[in-house]
Structure formats: structure tokens, C-alpha cells
């Protein structure tokens, strides 16, 4: 059962990630592929018993970030621009492919060396309660800094997107 779910979510995440990159006609299609990828990743998080992170993934990424993307695409009314440019890009493409191939090989070699079994964890591992207690206990300073960062980001977004500063 876990194996089947793992394969379903992995194939969905990888296939829609390819869809984000490979779709050259319309950025909206890329954004919709991104939603599928985010939701599949949320499923993988739940498989890893990280329920809270899976929930946040659905709400923040699939719910807020992709909607923001779609909102901007529709606001700017963009049509299929920015397709891969064959004339100026061969070197970059070659470098990218080499990087990806080398990186994949390296990762597989490094990760294949140690394969520990999954340890047993507490029943409340990864629940909202456990993560919340950690966030507001040991990591309360990080949460406060994240709050300040969010405030700064909101102000910066408003200032940057404004037509004219007075």
C-alpha cells in the first residue's frame, strides 16, 4: 500500500515538474502543473509521517503561492513568450545537461552507500501538536524572526509593485 502510494505520488510529482518546465505555450499551464506537483509532494510528506508539513504544503504552496502566480500571470496577460531560444542557448543547455547528469550520478553514488532502515518514531511524530510545541518552545526565536521577515516581505512587495511612490 505504502509502496503503491509512493509510486503514485512520485510519478505525479516528477511528471508535473517536467510539465512545468516543458510547457512552452502558456505560463498558466505551467502554474497548473505546479499545483499538481505541490499536491503530490504533500502526499509524500504524509507518507513520511510529516502530517503538519503536508498540511502546510497544501495550504501555503498549492493554496497561496500558486494562486499568486496565476494572479500575476492573468494580471499581466502574458502569452507564450520565453520559449527556449535555440540560437543563443546551446552552451547553457550543454552546461545544464552536464550538471544534471553529473549531479544525478554523484547523488546516486553518495546516497547508495548508506541505507539505514526506518526507525520507529513516537505516535505523535510530525503531528501539529508535536511541531507546534517545538516551534513555540525551542524555536520561538526563529518563529519571531520569520514573522518579521514576512512583514518586511509584505511591505517590500507593496512598495515594489506600486505604480508611483509619493
Amino acid at each position: 500500500m505504502r509502496m503503491a502510494l509512493f509510486w503514485i505520488f512520485s510519478v505525479a510529482a516528477l511528471g508535473s515538474a517536467v510539465g512545468v518546465v516543458g510547457n512552452v505555450r502558456n505560463p498558466i499551464n505551467s502554474a497548473l502543473n505546479l499545483v499538481v506537483s505541490m499536491l503530490a509532494l504533500a502526499g509524500l510528506y504524509v507518507l513520511l509521517e510529516a502530517q503538519f508539513i503536508g498540511l502546510i504544503q497544501v495550504m501555503v504552496y498549492a493554496g497561496a503561492i500558486v494562486v499568486l502566480f496565476l494572479f500575476v500571470i492573468m494580471l499581466l496577460n502574458l502569452r507564450g513568450s520565453g520559449a527556449p531560444n535555440a540560437e543563443t542557448q546551446p552552451l547553457v543547455k550543454l552546461a545544464g545537461t552536464a550538471l544534471v547528469a553529473g549531479g544525478s550520478y554523484f547523488l546516486v553514488r553518495v546516497l547508495a552507500t548508506g541505507r539505514a532502515p526506518w526507525p520507529d518514531v513516537d505516535p505523535d511524530y510530525g503531528t501539529t501538536r508535536a511541531i507546534g510545541e517545538a516551534l513555540y518552545g525551542d524555536y520561538v526565536l526563529a518563529v519571531q524572526v520569520a514573522g518579521v521577515l514576512l512583514l518586511a516581505g509584505i511591505i517590500a512587495a507593496v512598495v515594489l509593485a506600486k505604480k508611483r511612490l509619493e
Binding site: 510529482a13 518546465v21 505546479l34 510529516a50 526507525p119 511541531i131
Partner: protein, 102 residues
């Protein structure tokens, strides 16, 4: 967790990251490039959560949560920059925005 090995999750994360890298390197549409950056951040998050489960500690999940916060801020600011760029230049092709100042 039985039959799925931690290694397989790391491979999925690495592949999603690679797809994101290829997207940033090949696509010229700023918004799609930005989505590919989000893909890479998500791949890193998956790796963090999988390692966190592998060692049976929830610190990796806290770090993944913080990555999500930073990603949300980054999207808001980045899209605002793209909006003002499009207002000034009327294009989302990254090649047309190669100058620091105009």
C-alpha cells in the same frame, strides 16, 4: 515504513531538483523560471523531511517549515519585481532584462 527505502525519497527529491535546475537554465520566461526555483525549494524540503524521518527527529521538519516561510516571502517580493519590470519593459523574457539599469 516497510518496503519504501529512504534512498528512494532522496532520489525523487534529487530528480525534482534537477528538473528545476534544467528549467531555470533553459526557460527564458521569468515567471516560469521563478516556478522552477519553487520546484527546487520543494525538492530541498522533501529531502529535509525524508532525512528527518530517517533519523526519527523532527528538526528537519522545523527547517522545512522555515524554508516554506522564506519561499512565501520570496514569491511575494519576486512577483512584485516581475510586475514592475513588465510595467517598465513590457516583456517577461529574461534576455530583455539583462541590464542592471536603464
Amino acid at each position: 515504513m516497510g518496503d519504501v527505502s529512504p534512498f528512494q525519497f532522496q532520489v525523487v527529491a534529487a530528480l525534482i531538483f534537477m528538473i528545476g535546475v534544467v528549467g531555470v537554465l533553459t526557460r527564458r520566461n521569468m515567471i516560469v523560471m521563478f516556478m522552477c526555483i519553487e520546484l527546487m525549494l520543494n525538492a530541498a524540503n522533501l529531502s529535509l523531511v525524508a532525512f528527518s524521518r530517517e533519523i526519527g527527529d523532527d528538526q528537519g521538519q522545523i527547517l522545512a517549515f522555515m524554508v516554506m516561510v522564506v519561499a512565501a516571502v520570496e514569491v511575494a517580493v519576486g512577483l512584485a519585481i516581475i510586475i514592475s519590470l513588465v510595467r517598465n519593459r513590457d516583456t517577461v523574457n529574461i534576455e530583455d532584462a539583462s541590464q542592471m539599469k536603464w
